[in-house]
């Protein structure tokens, strides 16, 4: 589908609003989720807007190599990191391989206003280094493949894999560290049911 999206994108850059709004509509939810799991809602809204603006105007445009999605999340990632950098301009630049989104932007996020298990997961994700969080989320939630992640994150595929591996370890430790609330037994039961309801065939795709 990337050819189709490249056409839409080119038309958007050439000034066709309709094409632009189709792409924006298509990726709106994912981009909002990307930011809402990392910064406060007010900042998230600005960053969503900035990401799409950069896509439309940036000199480093999408040239049709790979998927538009990889390009878009590459822009989103850079937008997020520069936001963190500017927030910390008085101090030295944060190391995104070490600092977590929570370190960089403490305070509540609203992504999972409804469900305890999602809040739990998001809290844990926010406490691991932000580059790890980005990698895990793009892999699991946005479904980017290793080579697409390599484009979005600007690192070699081998590094993507080791980062996924390390990220999962850190995430698990983070989840263990988050205090288990009273409601957990109930929440976990609910969580199981919901997962069970949503889980599809567990086999690797047969072709």
């Amino acid at each position: 589908m990337s050819y189709d999206e490249f056409e839409l994108y080119s038309a958007w850059r050439a000034g066709n609003r309709k094409s632009g709004s189709i792409l924006v509509e298509r990726y709106y939810d994912s981009v909002v989720r990307f930011f809402r799991t990392k910064v406060a809602p007010s900042a998230a809204d600005d960053l969503v807007q900035r990401t799409f603006m950069v896509c439309a105007d940036s000199e480093t445009a999408f040239r049709g190599e790979g998927k538009f999605k990889s390009y878009l999340f590459g822009v989103a990632r850079r937008t997020l990191l520069s936001h963190f950098n500017s927030k910390h301009r008085q101090r030295e630049d944060p190391d995104f391989g070490i600092s977590s989104a929570f370190d960089l932007a403490p305070g509540p996020v609203t992504v999972a206003a409804g469900r305890a298990d999602q809040r739990w997961l998001v809290e844990a994700l926010r406490s691991i280094p932000v580059e790890m969080q980005i990698t895990l989320e793009l892999f699991y939630w946005q479904g980017l493949a290793i080579d697409e992640l390599s484009v979005a994150l600007e690192i070699p595929p081998g590094t993507v894999k080791s980062r996924l591996h390390r990220g999962r370890t850190l995430l698990r430790h983070a989840m263990e560290k988050i205090p288990v609330p009273d409601g957990l037994t109930r929440s976990v039961t609910v969580l199981m049911d919901e997962w069970a309801a949503g889980v599809h065939a567990l086999v690797p795709e047969s072709r």
Binding site: R119, G143, L144, K161, R168, T169, P181, W195
Partner: protein, 515 residues
């Protein structure tokens, strides 16, 4: 063939060694022993482990560990099926065995499917803690579990037939490459079900997208859709801003012919939270004070709750403070105004819970108005209106369902960190922290993380920057409001404000251009 104890791994359990036989199958191999068996199916992009009745000793797991290690290095996914119905008498041993195994692989198991008869709660929680990237599915019914496994294995055999099978001894690079080039990472398909919801309601999404389109393409809400966007009976004109609890839109109330601000709440509108929001909003609507943003009404539209408020033309204290350097006097006036609003709310039994510069509006006449009462948590706490004396710590100790205290850490009182408690005195603390930041340009307490911040607020005095021009008396008044023990703070906001006003008058006489 029998398997010896592991070479150099931590033990997977202290079981007695058992004769284990291995038999190769079309898709992998089977390990069998007197108490059960373990089947392994290898596919190009993943490995399925099927465990019946538990591990027997660590040596038994050795070939599985080796295989898992090799395939993980190739970026493959692992799926683990287990029938634990017969191990309920040895739960501890079982758990010890497998959890060692999981830990060794950093929870690289993508999915766990379990049939469990009686020990679900313990193992389910354990498993949920162990796996992080994947999903868990628990069957309570053995027949359904077996049907499921059969389907899975049949599918595995089918895919083996069209040679997607990757024989155990095949070159590793080949399999790794195949995984890399596959269009969709298999893991992504399943885990999508646990992807967090972003929007509390379709309306929230529709309006958010509308506002984004307005910003990107310069099309107003009206231009985008002739039918217009509306929240209940209110016609949306443009977005005003985003706060912690929701997005605020400037709207037109055609019925009453006036402009209003409508805040669409992020909070999911389930029955309980709706009742609470209604209750709190009613209390807020009863409160009429020049320093409090008036709440006109509360409503619900397409499953989303919204608050209709007085439209304040101006900016938040946060952007007001950032816009330019302000005189101490001006800042003090803003906070005195906001403080009076807060005191009025306390007198009505309301607690703010998230007082900060972002929640103070400054209108075109320079008047400060406090907004966002009580709703900061996304779900409103128990009715504080029942507390007779707002200065007395109420029993409102609610935290979020995850046990994580939600507020704005930089302005949170130590007891809010510790117990999630919020009352008039925690509001007083937040007020002083916000005012401190306004006057000194830096927060009274800092810390790299939540724990450090809580420690600073509990153990240290507020940070005073060198060479600041804030009068000592003023600082002392704020310091008292920032005491870690609520009993050491001012008895009420009124007392604090009295003290501040006195100093304000004195300060005006002697030091400012007003003199």
């Amino acid at each position: 063939m029998p398997w010896s104890r592991s070479r150099d791994r931590p033990p997977c359990g202290n079981y007695e060694p058992v004769e284990v036989s291995r038999r190769n199958t079309k898709t992998g191999f089977v390990l069998e022993h007197a108490r059960g068996r373990l089947e392994v199916h290898e596919l190009a992009r993943g490995v399925i482990f099927q465990d019946y009745y538990g591990a027997v000793d660590d040596g038994y797991l050795q070939p599985v560990l080796d295989l898992a290690e090799r395939r993980l290095a190739q970026g493959c996914r692992l799926t683990f099926y287990s029938d634990i119905s017969r191990v309920h008498t040895s739960t501890t041993a079982y758990r010890r065995g497998w959890s060692h195994w999981f830990k060794e692989y950093d929870s690289e198991i993508n999915d766990i499917v379990v049939f469990a008869a009686s020990i679900v709660p313990i193992l389910a929680v354990k498993a949920a803690n162990l796996i992080t990237g994947g999903s868990i599915r628990i069957f309570y019914d053995r027949e359904r579990f077996q049907t499921h496994i059969e389907q899975v294995v049949t599918a595995a055999w089918d895919s083996a037939d069209d040679d997607s099978i990757d024989p155990p001894d095949d070159s590793e690079s080949h399999a790794g490459k195949e995984f890399e080039n596959s269009d969709t990472p298999v893991a992504a398909l399943e885990v999508s079900s646990s992807t967090p919801d972003v929007f509390a309601s379709p309306l929230e999404r529709k309006l958010g997208l509308g506002a984004l389109n307005a910003a990107l393409f310069g099309e107003s809400f009206n231009e985008q859709d002739e039918a217009g966007f509306s929240i209940g009976r209110f016609t949306v004109q443009h977005k005003l801003g985003t706060g912690g609890m929701g997005v605020v839109y400037a709207c037109r109330d055609e019925v009453l012919d006036r402009d209003v601000a409508v805040k669409l709440l992020h909070a999911r509108c389930d029955k309980t939270s709706r009742r609470r929001i209604m209750r709190e909003a009613k209390a807020m609507a009863r409160l009429s004070h020049p320093n409090v943003v008036t709440v006109h009404e509360i409503g619900e539209s397409d499953g989303a709750a919204f608050l209709v408020m007085e439209l304040v033309r101006g900016s938040t204290a946060l952007s007001w403070l950032r816009a330019e350097k302000r005189e101490t006097n001006e800042i003090l006036d803003v906070f005195l105004g906001a403080g009076r609003g807060l005191a009025a709310a306390h007198a009505n039994g309301l607690v703010h819970r998230d007082f900060k510069p972002e929640n103070i509006m400054i209108d075109e006449d320079g008047r400060a108005l406090v907004t966002d009462f009580g709703l900061a948590r996304g779900e409103v706490a128990d009715p504080v209106s029942e507390a007779t004396d707002p200065a007395t710590p109420t029993s409102s100790t609610e935290t979020t369902a995850t046990g994580i205290v939600v507020g704005t850490p930089a302005y949170m009182a130590p007891e809010t960190f510790a117990e999630g408690r919020t009352d008039a005195r925690t509001d007083q603390f937040s007020f002083c922290a916000a005012m401190w930041e306004g006057l000194y340009g830096q927060r009274p307490f800092t810390g790299g993380d939540l724990a450090a911040l809580a420690r600073a607020a509990t153990e240290h005095s507020p940070l005073v920057p060198r060479g600041s021009a804030v009068p000592r008396k003023l600082r002392e008044a704020m310091e008292r409001g920032l005491m870690p023990d609520p009993r050491d703070r001012w008895a009420s906001m009124e007392d604090l404000l009295d003290s501040l006003s006195t100093r304000r008058a004195w300060y005006r006489r002697w030091f400012t251009r007003d003199s």
